[in-house]
Amino acid sequence: MSNGEETSAATIARQAINSLLRNVLNSRVVPILFHRSPGNDNGGDRAIAGLHWQVRAQGFVIQTGVTGNDGRVAMVVRGASSTLELLHNGAVVASYDVRVSTATLDAVGTLIGQKQRLRLLGYQIGHGGPDGNGVDATVNMETERSMLDFQADESLYDDAVVTATMQARLTARAGT
């Protein structure tokens, strides 16, 4: 089950003239949402509007735009990854190397599954782990703080203990 927008994939096939060979280019559109605080409500009054952005893939700028009141960037990820760049007066001031995984989320009963959901919702779990996005099997200060943040935001008892209730809430907010 998903809980909102779906990523979409596009396959662009180019057939060379007088040839049976085809070059296939895989693209995927993924929603990136910039918020001032975490949580899955499509931004509301916490979305970051007015961000100028561009997407760069394989050395070329392939998209540009400005975030609206939902803070959303419908980003094209071409091939293995694309780079989302935030701009100020036309200069790049921040960038994100965006990759897409088509795998389902790990089980919410696992630490990895919990951190995947916290990360998805915007909770700040650090940048450790194999993907550099904080998702790994380590409980550190950032992990505990993010769990506490989630509990406080969800009106759950804030002791950083992942109960069945918290697991259910993570699933409800971020998906199964």
């Binding site: 998903s2 909102g4 990523t7 993924v30 929603p31 990136i32 949402l33 910039f34 918020h35 001032r36 605080s37 975490p38 949580g39 899955n40 009054d45 916490r46 970051i48 007015g50 961000l51 975030t67 990820v77 780079t83 935030l86 001031v93 921040a94 960038s95 994100y96 190397d97 965006v98 990759r99 897409v100 995984s101 795998a103 389902t104 990360r119 998805l120 919702l121 915007g122 909770y123 700040q124 650090g126 993907d131 550099g132 996005n133 409980v139 550190n140 200060m141 505990e144 703080r145 506490l148 943040d149 509990q151 406080a152 935001d153 009106s155 008892y157 804030d158 002791d159 950083a160 998906g175």
Partner: protein, 370 residues
Amino acid sequence: MALNVRVRHDRQIICPIRFQRAVTGATVADAPDVDDRGFAMGARSATWGTSTVRGAMVSIAQGDTARVRVIRADIDDTAPLFVTSTDTAVVTVAAPAGGGPLPADGIFSLHAVKDFPNRTAAIQVRLGDATGPVIGELEPHIFAIHNLRVVAHLVTINGRATTRTAAALVNTFQAINDIWRPAGIVFLYNQAQTQAEVFNGFQVAGQMTTMMDASIPGHTDTAADWAEFSQIINRRPVANHVNVYFVENANEVFGLTFDNTNARPNGYGIVCADNAVDNSVAHELCHFLDNPDHVQQAIAPGAAHEDIWARRRLMWTPNPWNASAVAHQNDVGYGPLTRGALISVKDLPATVDQTDGELARARRRSLNPY
């Protein structure tokens, strides 16, 4: 350097920044702790007005300047960030000039202009320049100073006296005020008013003996369990002052407090032993100001608070604590095994935390403290 994002499932939310105390280690007067417990704001005192901010809160005494740090949790270290105030009659950005760009350490300074009832301001962090998009918000609360007079009593029990002196307590109360001043509460200690008290016939020389824990021999579960405490706090209390009695030792506690809802002859006041550090005396003063509970005693079904937030709060106990098996919990920003000094500004729902909102309760009591 680009931050890595791996989109799974159907979307990815990015929250670029958060806020944190500007320093680590011991409390510093102009670097108050930031109540960053969640992004929800919780209940608000009647005079706090309304706010659309979702994020951290920080308290600052009116007229003071305080430092706060921006943590670039999910944005490049080099991204130019600027800080602005939505209401400069309430709070202004004192540094950096023009609000930014913030230095590499992310620290900026706020000047608390005035404590207005029902008038809130937001500190906004913007990308690029002072008119750029708002990427994070902090709610500062400005508090006019309430001065509370304190009298110290240096106690001798069966011939053994506290090692504290009237002169040394000047530094103690300075350190206490470093903790309490951001809440707009200042304890005025005049060493010339310090009184010497002598008790004889107590159970142990130099010691205030109590039997509050059921495991202590002689425990009766009656007022007799704290009879020596009651004797001490009723000895020559000075009217219209907070009376703090310093003893050499106490068998069960670093300090013990009855607030002024306990009428005399049972009495009210504070007793602190010599092993109570400045933070612990500040903790007892928080009890006196209508905060009777300890953070970890707020019990949800089968659970006590043992987490990093609880350990950062002034009302955690004990201090220092025994090492946790969870290594990162052993330093929450104030040094190894050392309790923090956060007086909670937020008042989250009781389902989350039953004892927070300490600052608001203390402020109310500080209007009628004696």
